[in-house]
Symmetry: C2
C-alpha cells in the first residue's frame, strides 16, 4: 500500500465519478453557476499535455444565434451520418444524439494553431495534441459529474464548417462540441447501451499480455 | 445547486486527484498489487467512447526482455527527438523523460484494428477513436493518483516499430507506453515546469467567447 494513497473515502469518490459519469444528451435549460463553470474549465486546464504544450482552447457559446447555427451544423451531419450508416439508418435516427439547444452551457473545445513547432512527444505521434485535449475534457467531465452536472461530447459536425463559423485561424481545429448543464437524471447505464446500440464488453477481452492476442 | 451533486467531501476528492495528478518519470521498482491494477484497468474501461465503440486494447508487459526492447525503442526516439529540437537539444537531453525500466507495471495502450466500420461520431472526425482512448487513460491516471500510484505517458516511440514488436495486427496502433508504479514522491508541480521547459498558462488565456480571439 502506498503512503501517497488517498483516504478510502476519497478513493471511493474518485471511482464514483468514473462509474457514474455519462455522455448526456438530455438536459434541463437551467443556467450553470458561473463559478462552477470556472472550476470545470480550471479542471480541464489541469489536464496532462504532451511536452506540457497545453494545446486546448475553449470557446464558450453565449450568443443564441450562434448556438442555433452550431445546432444546424450538427443536424446536417446527423443526416449525413444516418445515410452513411446504411442498414442502421433508422435505428440511428431514433437515437437522441445531442442536447445542443437545451444545455445550460455550450462549449467548443479546440486545438490551437501552429502546433507543428511542438516536437517533444510528437515527432512520430503528432496526434498526441488531440490526446491531450481529450484528457483535459475528461477532467472537466468527471468534475462536472461530481458537481451534479451532465456533459455530452458531440462530434457530429463538419470541423471545417465549425472552424469558419467561429472565425478560427487556419491550423486550429474544433474537436468537440460540449453540452454542459443540469439534468433531470443521469442515465443509470450508457444511453447507447440502454438503447441497444452497443454493449460494454468484458474487461478481460480488452487486456492482453506481452503482445497481441485475439480474444 | 444540483440535486445530483456529490457531497462536499467527494467533490474535494475529485479535484484533489485532478490537481495532484502528475506525469511521472521517477518510479520505485516495487510491484503493483494486481487487484489495484485490475481496478485501474476497469476505470479505463469505463471511459467514454465515441458511439460506445470502446476502441482501447491494453497490453501488459510482464516479460523483462520485451520491456528492454520497448525501452530501446524509446531511447532511439529520444535521440531523434533531441536532434529534431535543434537549439533545445541539450536542454531536452538533460530531462528525465521516462521511467520504462523502473516502474512496477508497464502497459501499452492501443487502438484496435478495423475501426473504419464505426461511423457514429467519426464520419468527419475519425480521430475520435484516439480521443476515446485518451479519456480512458485519463480515468486510469486519476484513479492511480488516488491509489497512490504514479503514471507516466510516454509517446517517444516509433508506432510502427512498437506495433511489430508486440505482433499487433495491421490497422491497430499503439498510442501510449504507460509507466505505472509506486513513487517516492509526486512532483509538487509538473516536472516540465519545475525544469523550466514550459509554464502553465493563465486559464483566461485559454477561454474565449463566441468565436476566436487572440489573447
Amino acid at each position: 500500500m502506498s503512503e501517497h494513497r488517498f483516504s478510502d473515502e476519497e478513493i471511493t469518490a474518485i471511482y464514483r465519478a468514473i462509474y457514474e459519469r455519462r455522455d448526456m444528451r438530455h438536459f434541463l435549460t437551467d443556467p450553470v453557476d458561473p463559478q462552477v463553470m470556472q472550476r470545470l474549465l480550471a479542471a480541464a486546464h489541469h489536464g496532462p499535455s504532451v511536452g506540457f504544450m497545453q494545446p486546448w482552447r475553449f470557446i464558450r457559446i453565449t450568443d443564441s444565434q450562434l448556438r442555433q447555427d452550431i445546432h444546424a451544423l450538427v443536424e446536417q451531419e446527423r443526416q449525413q451520418t444516418a445515410d452513411a450508416l446504411n442498414e442502421r439508418r433508422e435505428e440511428f435516427m431514433r437515437l437522441k444524439v445531442e442536447g445542443v439547444m437545451d444545455c445550460g452551457e455550450l462549449l467548443v473545445a479546440t486545438l490551437m494553431p501552429q502546433r507543428e513547432q511542438y516536437i517533444f512527444g510528437r515527432r512520430t505521434l503528432p496526434e498526441m495534441d488531440l490526446a491531450s485535449v481529450a484528457c483535459a475534457i475528461q477532467n472537466l467531465w468527471l468534475a462536472a459529474r461530481a458537481e451534479g452536472l451532465g456533459v455530452g461530447w458531440v462530434s457530429l459536425f463538419n470541423p471545417e464548417a465549425l472552424r469558419q463559423l467561429l472565425r478560427m485561424p487556419e491550423g486550429s481545429q474544433p474537436i468537440a462540441i460540449l453540452c454542459v448543464g443540469h439534468v433531470e437524471k443521469f442515465y443509470d447505464e450508457p444511453m447507447l447501451q440502454k438503447e441497444n446500440w452497443a454493449e460494454r464488453g468484458e474487461l478481460n477481452d480488452y487486456v492482453m499480455e506481452n503482445g497481441w492476442q485475439e480474444k
